[in-house]
Amino acid sequence: MKLHEYQAKEIFAKYGLPVTPGVLVKHLSEVDEALKQFPTGPWMVKAQIHAGGRGKAGGVKFCKTETDVRQKASDILGMTLVSPQTGPQGKLVKKIFITPAVDYSKELYVSVVLDRVHRCPVILASAEGGTEIEELAVHKPEAIQKVYIDPVQGLHPYQARQLHLDLGLPSDKINQGSKLLQDLVKIFMDLDLSLIEVNPLVVLKDGNIHCLDAKLAFDDNGLPRHKEYASWRDPDEEDARELLAAESGLSYISLDGNIGCLVNGAGLAMATADAIQHFGGTPANFLDVGGSASQKAVAQAFKIILSDERVKAILVNIFGGIAKCDLIAQGIIDAAKEVGLSLPLVVRLEGTNVEKGKELLSKSDLKYSFASSMDEAAKAAVAGAGGARS
C-alpha cells in the first residue's frame, strides 16, 4: 500500500523528522482556508498522486502570491499528470497539498528499500538529489551510496555518521544528519515498509537538514500489524478490479490482451499468461484464485474477468493439489450459469479428482472445450479469441 506525500509527512512528523506542514485541498473552495492557516508566502502547490516525476509533469508549482496559489490550484486539481511512473494514460489529480516554500542550498536523495541479494534493508543515498535520480541510477551509479542495514538492530550510529559525511554534509551537523538517517530506518522497520524515500532531502539556507518530500509504501504482508493505517489506503489510486479481487482473496492484475485467465497458484498463473503469448495470443489478466481455489472464489473470479469488456475468451487452468477438481468444476458450472457466460470457454483440469471433475462438466449444460494439456489449452483459447496476432 502506497501513501501520499501528505500522509507520509504526517508519519515523519510523528517521528520528529523535520518536514514543512501544509494543508490538503480536495476542492478549490478549500484554498482560502489553507492560505488562512499559512498566510506567509511563498508557497508550493503539489499534486498528490501515487507516482513520482510530478514536478517535471507540471504537478508541482512555486507560487509567490495568493492569486498565484489560487490559479495554480485550479490548474492542477483535475489535471491528468503523465510522468514516466504513471504510464501513458496518466493519473487524474484529485488532491493537492499547499505548503509554505522553503529556501535551500543543496538537494540530496535518500531512500530505504529491501535488498534481495544481501537479504536485508539498504539505504540508497546520493549527494546529487532532485528530480534526476532515475537517470543517475542508470548513467552514474557510482554517485549512489549504499549502506546495508542490520535488520535486527537497525542502522548503527557509526554507519549513520559515516554516511552523513560521505554525502558531503557539514560535520557540525553530524548529530542532526545521522539522527535523521537513523529515524528513517527506524520508521522503515517499525512500520514494516517496503519503501521510504526522501527526494529531495535538502540543506536549508540556515544549514539545517530538511525533508522536502516524503514517499512511503507499506509491505502489504506487514499491514495487519498496523491496523491504524488501514484506512489510509486511497481507493482512487487503485485499480477497481484489483481491489475487488483482493477483497475476495484473489490476486488479479490487469493486462492488455483479450483472453481472460483463471488459474490456481501464482507461478502457474504467470506461466499460463506466457503460454497464451507463446501461441500468439494476449492475456487480459493475471488471476490467481489461490492454492485452495474455493467454489466461491471461482465464481467471484469469473465475475471480475467478465467485467472487462475486452475479454473475448476465457481460459481456466487448474492443477488440483489440495484444491479438488470436482469442486472447482462445480464452481465453474455455477458461476457460468450465474453470470450468463456466452464467451468461448476453455477448461484444463489436472490433478486431484480430475475424472470426477470432467464428468461433472460433461453432464452440465455448460458450453466449453476441454484441453488435456497446458499447450493445448492455450492454443484453443487463442483460437477462441479470434486467432493469433498476425
Binding site: 534481495r116 500489524r225 506466457d274
Partner: protein
C-alpha cells in the same frame, strides 16, 4: 538417493491444531512420512488424530527425537516459529506459511546464521518431497514417481505441472523442492543445484524460476562453472508488466531488473535448455538429457 529429505526424517508440525496444519499432517502421514507429533503453544499434553501435541519445539525434540518440522503458523508469528525450531536443533525447517513480512524474514535470515546445522526451506512454498520416501509439504503425493530427476522451483502449482510432465514421460523424481515465492527465502536455487550436483542418484535437474530478483542468474553462473549434470529450465513471467507484483511477493520486475528475458538469456548462456512454453518443460528435459544445450526446440512453431 535424495537431497535434504531422506528416510531418517522424523517430522513434527508447528501449528498442528490449526485446520491446514492438521489436514496436511495427516496427508503426510498417509504418504508414509514418519510424523512424530506437533506443536501448539498452550495445547501441550493433548493428542489430535493420533498426533502427540507439545507446547514447544524443544519439548517435542526431547520426547520424539524429531529432526524436521513443517510450519503452518500464521504469518505474523511464523518468523518466530522458524527461530524456535532452529534453537531447538531441528535440521530441516520447512515453512509453508504465506504472507510473512519481508523485514521479519530479513531478521530471521540473519539470526539463522547462528544455527549452521539448520536448513530453512520456504517460506511461502509447497514444501519438499522425496517420492516413495517422505513428503513434508502440501503437494499431492500421487503425481510423483520415484526416479532420478531433481526439480527445484519458486512456485507451487507450476511445480506440480513440471512434476506431472516428468511423470508422464515415464521418468521419476529424486527430490522436488518448492523454495518459495518470497523475496527472502531460506534455500535458494543455487543451494539446491549444489546439493543435486553432489547427489549420486540425481541424473538431471529441472529449475523453474520466476521474474524478480537475481537468484536464477546466480544459479546459471554456478551451472556454467560447476554443474556436472544436464539442466532444463523454465522462467515464468514473460508477460509481466514492470512494477506489478504477480501474486508472489518476490515476483516483481523493479528498476528494469529481474525480467524474464534477462534470466532466460543468462540460463541459455550457461548451457541450460530453456523451455519456451510451460507445456514444454518435459520436452526441454528430454533434450537436456540428450546433451543438447540452449533453446528448446518447440514442438509447435511459434506464430508471431
Amino acid at each position: 538417493m535424495s537431497i535434504y529429505l531422506g528416510k531418517n526424517a522424523k517430522v513434527i508440525c508447528q501449528g498442528i491444531t490449526g485446520s491446514a496444519g492438521l489436514f496436511h499432517s495427516k496427508a503426510c502421514r498417509d504418504y508414509g512420512t514418519k510424523m512424530v507429533g506437533g506443536v501448539t503453544p498452550g495445547k501441550g499434553g493433548s493428542e489430535v488424530e493420533g498426533f502427540k501435541v507439545f507446547d514447544t519445539v524443544g519439548d517435542a525434540v526431547k520426547k520424539t527425537g524429531a529432526n524436521t518440522t513443517m510450519i503452518f503458523v500464521p504469518a505474523l508469528f511464523a518468523g518466530d516459529a522458524i527461530l524456535e525450531a532452529a534453537a531447538a536443533g531441528i535440521e530441516l525447517i520447512v515453512c509453508i506459511t504465506e504472507g510473512i513480512p519481508a523485514n521479519d524474514m530479513a531478521k530471521v535470515n540473519l539470526i539463522l546464521k547462528q544455527y549452521p546445522k539448520s536448513r530453512l526451506i520456504g517460506p511461502n512454498c509447497p514444501g519438499i518431497i522425496t517420492p516413495g520416501v517422505a513428503k513434508v509439504g502440501i503437494m499431492p503425493g500421487y503425481i510423483h514417481k520415484p526416479g532420478k530427476i531433481g526439480i527445484v522451483s519458486r512456485s507451487g502449482t507450476l511445480t506440480y505441472e513440471a512434476v506431472w510432465q516428468v511423470t508422464q514421460l515415464g521418468l521419476g523424481q529424486s527430490t522436488c523442492i518448492g523454495i518459495g515465492g518470497d523475496p527472502i527465502v531460506g534455500t535458494t536455487h543455487l543451494d539446491a543445484l549444489e546439493a543435486y550436483n553432489a547427489d549420486k542418484d540425481t541424473q538431471a535437474v529441472i529449475m523453474i524460476g520466476e521474474i524478480g530478483g537475481t537468484a536464477e542468474e546466480e544459479a546459471a553462473l554456478y551451472v556454467k562453472k560447476h554443474m556436472k549434470k544436464p539442466v532444463a529450465a523454465f522462467i515464468a513471467g514473460m508477460t509481466a508488466p514492470p512494477g506489478k507484483r504477480m501474486g508472489h511477493a518476490g515476483a516483481i520486475v523493479s528498476g528494469g531488473k529481474g525480467t524474464a528475458k534477462e534470466k532466460i538469456a543468462a540460463l541459455e548462456a550457461a548451457g541450460i535448455v530453456v523451455a519456451q512454453s510451460p507445456g514444454e518443460i518435459g520436452n526441454a528435459l528430454v533434450e537436456a538429457l540428450k546433451g543438447k544445450k540452449g533453446k528448446s526446440k518447440p514442438k509447435t512453431k511459434k506464430k508471431k
